[in-house]
């Protein structure tokens, strides 16, 4: 139940976009059409679900103070936390590369639809953000995986919803200066207001 709650909370209440503004760049740039938004959203869910537990293992067995105990008693006091950013981003970049290669090999159709978005994901803030938050909150590995998946799902829902709204928006008369990014920001704000209603859910 606990794991389910964490995933649900990450999806709706602590939504990556509306509560933490993570992954905004690609959220705004790739939300013009539902089909492309769907592709990117799926790729983000996929990569988040993989990188969060991998980074958890890294944090637990290499980076944390005393984490290197398994190498021998002399490593007991080693604290490599300062390497956290570099290690996490390296894991994310190489995971993205790996995922890209695996998908290309086994499912050319999926690769065709995700292809161009995969490299973009390495610099999507929500991926690194999930790893950093997961460390801050002291999750276990199962909780971290659930958190990664839930965050990805929340991001996916948000970008699909925005893309659907923006497709309809083409037919409305928006003031010239507000076209594009401006009106999108205001819409995102209103969507955030709607997502606030989930706060009432007690988990």
């Amino acid at each position: 139940m606990d794991i389910f709650n964490i995933a649900l909370k990450a999806t709706f209440i602590d939504n990556m976009i509306f509560a933490y503004f993570l992954g905004m760049c690609s959220f705004l740039a790739v939300s013009k059409k539902v089909s492309t938004a769907f592709g990117l959203g799926m790729a983000v869910v996929f990569v988040l679900t993989i990188t969060t537990p991998v980074n958890w293992l890294l944090q637990e067995f290499v980076l944390k103070e005393g984490a290197l105990k398994w190498m021998g008693a002399s490593f007991e006091t080693v604290d490599l936390t300062f390497l956290q950013f570099i290690m996490f981003i390296a894991v994310i970049a190489s995971m993205v590369q790996l995922v890209e290669m695996v998908i290309e090999k086994f499912s050319p159709a999926l690769y065709g639809s995700l292809g161009i978005f995969l490299p973009l994901i390495a610099v999507n803030c929500s991926i690194l953000g999930a790893s950093l938050f997961m460390v801050q909150r002291d999750y276990t590995i199962a909780q971290a995986t659930a958190y990664g998946f839930g965050s990805g799902l929340g991001w996916f829902l948000a970008i699909i919803a925005l893309a659907a709204i923006r497709e309809r928006l083409k037919y409305s008369h928006v003031p010239a200066g507000l076209k594009g990014l401006g009106i999108t920001m205001l819409i995102t704000g209103l969507m955030g207001l709607a997502f606030k209603s989930f706060i009432g859910i007690a988990l």
């Binding site: 509306f18 509560a19 933490y20 503004f21 993570l22 992954g23 905004m24 760049c25 705004l28 740039a29 300062f82 390497l83 956290q84 950013f85 570099i86 996490f88 981003i89 390296a90 970049a93 190489s94 490299p119 390495a122 610099v123 999507n124 803030c125 991926i127 690194l128 953000g129 950093l132 938050f133 801050q136 003031p175 010239a176 200066g177 507000l178 076209k179 594009g180 990014l181 401006g182 009106i183 999108t184 920001m185 205001l186 995102t188 704000g189 209103l190 955030g192 207001l193 606030k196």
Partner: protein, 224 residues
Amino acid sequence: MSTETVEVKEKVEKKPAEPLFSKRRRGIVKDPLSDDNPITIQVLGICSALAITIKMEPTIVMSIAVIFVIVFSNLIISLMRNLIPGRVRIIVQLAVIATLVTLVSEVLKAYYYDMYKVLGAFVGLIITNCIVMGRLEAFAMGNKPYDSILDGLGSGFGYAWIIMVVAFFRELFGSGSILNFKIFEAIGWDTFPTNGLMVDSIGAFMVLGVLIWVQRTKTGYVEH
């Protein structure tokens, strides 16, 4: 940190080839401030622009950190631009940025721990700030070091003034203060109604949306 970069700029003065502040170079610094602003026109670096702008103080620290990272990563990548193989350039760029961000994070932790606590994970998230990556990819990979420094300064300050304005309005209406100074109590308006939405994420979207509107109307930029 920003004063250091000014010094670097003055040292390069001796080169006779092109005037230090030629029209082109002034353009490199000036364009990102308004006509080609990284946030309002190019839509980059929005994540941190919204997350840390609840108060002005963390915003200023964040601006300095981002300017530092942009300028130095631009410089380093520009110096190495002929050595980096095209296929692995993303990883190399990320490694350089991550190292600089770690530096910023450790300095904050050592000398400004309160602020480090407030900014939390968002210091680390400078790594994935699209402005930094974007400038490396679009400018530093193909330009000389001095131009790259100027470009970094321009983009950095273009980013800084936007998030400063957002933070000003959010702090003013959300907490009724400026730089933690209770401005409305000072002028005798004790009952100023503070707006919870401004502190919340929604206020950030709204303020930035309106700011983009104003800025684009001024520069005449229209998205199609």
